[in-house]
């Protein structure tokens, strides 16, 4: 249902993952995940090793943070991050890597896993694994089935429907085996016997590789999906893979499944089999004017400017730099912000690409309604938000909006639909919170 098809621009699809050298300084925010921010357990002046715990998660929905480098803690202060605000971060001056004890750096694949479900969940929690698809939800929580609910499917998100991004694609091609082991571990933790890897059909090589590897893993199969944005959105993916619709306001577990990104599956493999905490991830750096766009394995905390340098430097005609994909990513106001657990890509837009088309009156064409994957009416919701009619917004299900941007993409009048709906959502969210208090 719905969706749009922006130009794919997968210009880095054939670029092998390149290891980015450790930068001189890293800035590690203590909140890179949904839920309660972590609390630092190191202080200014401390020397930390690569992989060492530097911040402890607080509460059930939280995650631990580990140092991605070896070095000295320069300060723990408010530093600009991709949220557009300064947030508390641990700033480390780097030295040559000295790995924390217990981490297995061997390149060989470890296939067997003797741990039981509960132990797997504990390990995933200890290693600070969060969802790498962009939502950064603490993964150990998503590996536990709540009491009273049952899961029969693990769905692995290899869709990567955003234009330009190819990090997951390359990961599947180069680390497919590890991903499959990670998937098996996740299946064990959840107690499910079936896993489906969803991959968009514009990645035939990944479908072939993963399909071949999945053959030797019981219960795992690959599903080739239609190329449509936002096919990779959780609810849409579940509908396409197993035909079930997650009810409004509920989680996937309600229809008996859990969704994890392929990158998360890989991180789970590294965590459980190699004791490797989440300290690095694949980031796509792309843009029409970039000299050397590519996919890089980056240490968490690396400044975006270092990534852009490695990709050939910031082009003269740059107008906008985006953290993430072009449909849901965040425009950066400062290039010194760090790469975090949720950074899947850095896109450099030229000046020409950076501006919106002029806004004219709504011509009631209905395209926004046709493309909305959640069956909402953006023309109505944005108008209601503008007039501060919040109760009606709630009745029209504004909280179902997943901010995918399809409506604003397709609008011929260039209306700021999503901007207005976001304002409406935050107002309605506030009303709902006050109501349940």
């Amino acid at each position: 249902m719905g969706g749009v098809h922006p130009p794919e621009n997968k210009i880095t699809a054939s670029r092998h993952i390149e290891e980015l050298p450790v930068p001189g300084t890293v800035t590690i925010p203590i909140s890179q995940h949904l839920g309660v921010p972590a609390s630092p357990v190191v202080a200014k002046g401390d020397r930390v090793l690569t992989g060492q715990l530097i911040a402890r998660g607080g509460g059930f929905i939280s995650a631990h943070i580990h140092s991605s480098v070896t070095g000295k803690v320069v300060k723990i202060d408010d530093m600009m991050d991709s949220s557009g605000y300064r947030r508390k971060s641990v700033v480390i001056q780097t030295e040559a890597d000295e790995w924390a004890e217990g981490i297995d750096l061997d390149a060989g694949i470890v296939r067997g896993c003797d741990l039981d479900g509960a132990a797997i969940v504990r390990k995933v929690n200890d290693m600070g694994i969060v969802g790498l698809g962009g939502a950064t939800f603490p993964s150990h929580v998503k590996l536990m089935v709540p009491k009273g609910k049952k899961a029969d499917y693990l769905i692995v998100n290899g869709v990567e429907c955003e234009p330009y991004l190819t990090a997951d694609h390359r990961l599947m091609l180069e680390k497919g085996e590890e991903i499959l082991v990670g998937i098996s571990i996740q299946m064990k933790a959840l107690g499910v016997e079936q896993a489906i890897i969803g991959i968009e059909s514009n990645k035939p090589d990944a479908i072939e590789v993963m399909g071949r590897l999945a053959a030797s893993h019981a219960g795992v199969r690959v599903e080739a999906l239609e190329v449509k944005y936002p096919q990779g959105a959780e609810k849409q993916l579940i509908k396409a893979a197993i035909g079930r619709e997650v009810p409004s306001g509920k989680l996937p577990i309600e229809v008996g499944c859990v969704v994890h990104n392929v990158g998360t599956a890989f991180a789970v493999y590294e965590a459980v089999q190699k004791n490797m905490p989440l300290i690095r991830r694949v980031v796509t750096v792309a843009g029409k004017s970039m000299n050397k766009p590519g996919n890089f394995m980056v240490r968490i905390g690396t400044p975006v400017s270092a990534l852009i340098e490695a990709a050939g430097g910031l082009p003269e005609d740059t107008g906008k730099v985006i953290n993430g994909g072009p449909m849901m990513g965040k425009a950066l106001n400062d290039l010194g912000v760090p790469v975090t657990k949720g950074t899947s890509g850095i896109l450099v837009f030229t000046e020409m690409e950076s501006h919106r088309k002029p806004v004219v009156a709504c011509i009631r064409c209905g395209r926004c309604t046709t493309v909305c994957p959640m069956g909402l009416e953006p023309y109505l919701l944005s108008a209601l938000s503008e007039k501060n009619r919040n109760e009606e917004c709630e009745q029209e299900r504004i909280m179902d909006c997943m901010e995918c941007g399809s409506c604003m993409y397709i609008c011929p009048s260039g209306r700021p639909l999503l901007d207005l709906m976001r304002v409406g959502k935050s107002r309605v969210g506030k009303i709902i919170r006050e109501r349940t208090h």
Partner: protein, 332 residues
């Protein structure tokens, strides 16, 4: 490097614009324009040009001096209103009446509601109905087609095909008897028949309609629902009494139905937002059109049908919401 731009996502937009859509519609009207200009001659060309210029002029004057707001006369919407208004009147209509109709269409039908996107009724039809009620004689003198002629006056006028049928059976003749007076169906299809400037050639209009569908300017729902319901309604009555009611094909290719179903009813501003709503709208238009054609006082019902259904659009929008994802399924 210039300053970084910060804006909310999405950071991509299609290059579709309101102007592109409008000019796409204008382009699709070219076949119909060529046929009409051929059959009705210079008179048709003048009426069309006058309507277009008058519509744009009125929009300019109102926006600049009354509203004192931004000018939008080049976005293509006034141009389309002008062309469609011209297509709805006879080629022999005096030009000053065309100007009055344009004032009604743009001034009353569009700008009073707030301009583009805010009017509930199709402006070209508002103009046409205004003219029909104000100048009934001139608005029902339909020139007969001839090979391209520059004669402006003394065009031979005659009844439209629908009028021939309605008057004929009204006087007690059977359909077969009336058939003799009607142009051949092939001629009706091509456009060699009396009628308003734009409505005569069903074939040319269909060509334009297909172009718009391919370019995704309109969707199939309204035209198919409208034409489909006309065929069904006409078909039922034709089967009941073929000596009084004429066959559905005749209804499809005569009168302003093709023009209405493809260009007037599909006007985005005045039609429903969701696909389901559009189908209801199309069926409503079809039923009302046929009721007027078969049982009403007028031989042609398209204009009134569309305007009546325009009035129902807000209710249709409210009732026909798209299917919400993850709708809680009610049990029992």
């Amino acid at each position: 490097m210039s300053v970084l731009t910060v804006s909310g996502s999405p950071h991509l937009q299609t290059d579709q614009s309101v102007s592109k859509i409008m000019y796409g519609v204008v382009f699709s009207l070219i076949p119909a324009m060529l046929v009409s200009f051929y059959f009705f001659g210079l008179a048709a060309i003048l009426v069309t040009i006058t309507a277009v210029v008058a519509c744009m002029a009125f929009e300019f004057l109102i926006q600049k001096y009354l509203i004192r707001g931004p000018l939008t006369i080049f976005d293509g919407s006034a141009l389309i209103t002008g062309i469609l208004l011209a297509f709805n009147v006879p080629a022999s209509l005096p030009l000053w009446m065309v100007v009055v109709g344009s004032a009604a269409a743009i001034g009353m039908g569009k700008m009073t509601f707030g301009g583009l996107g805010k009017n509930p009724f199709n402006p070209a039809l508002v103009g046409r109905v205004f003219l029909m009620i104000s100048f009934p004689v001139e608005m029902t003198s339909w020139p007969l087609p001839s090979a391209f002629s520059t004669k402006l006056t003394d065009a031979v006028t005659g009844p439209t095909a629908l009028a021939i049928w309605k008057d004929g059976v009204g006087q007690g003749n059977t359909v077969d008897q009336v058939m003799a007076d009607l142009p051949e169906y092939a001629q009706l299809l091509i456009g060699n028949m009396g009628g308003s400037i734009g409505e005569i050639s069903a074939l040319a209009l269909l060509l334009g309609g297909v172009y718009m569908l391919v370019r995704k300017i309109i969707t199939w729902h309204i035209p198919v629902a409208y034409l489909g319901s006309v065929v069904v309604f006409a078909g039922v009555f034709w089967l009941i009494d073929p000596t009084y009611y004429i066959d559905p094909l005749f209804h499809l290719i005569s009168g302003g139905l093709m023009l209405g179903a493809l260009y007037m009813a599909t006007d985005m501003v005045t039609s429903p937002m969701s696909a389901r709503g559009q189908i209801v709208f199309g069926i409503g238009c079809g039923v009302v059109t046929m009721v007027i054609r078969l049982f009403g006082a007028y031989p042609e019902g398209v204009s009134f049908a569309i305007l009546i259904m325009n009035a129902f659009v807000p209710i249709i929008n409210k009732g026909m919401k798209p299917k919400r994802f993850g709708e809680e399924v009610k049990h029992g």
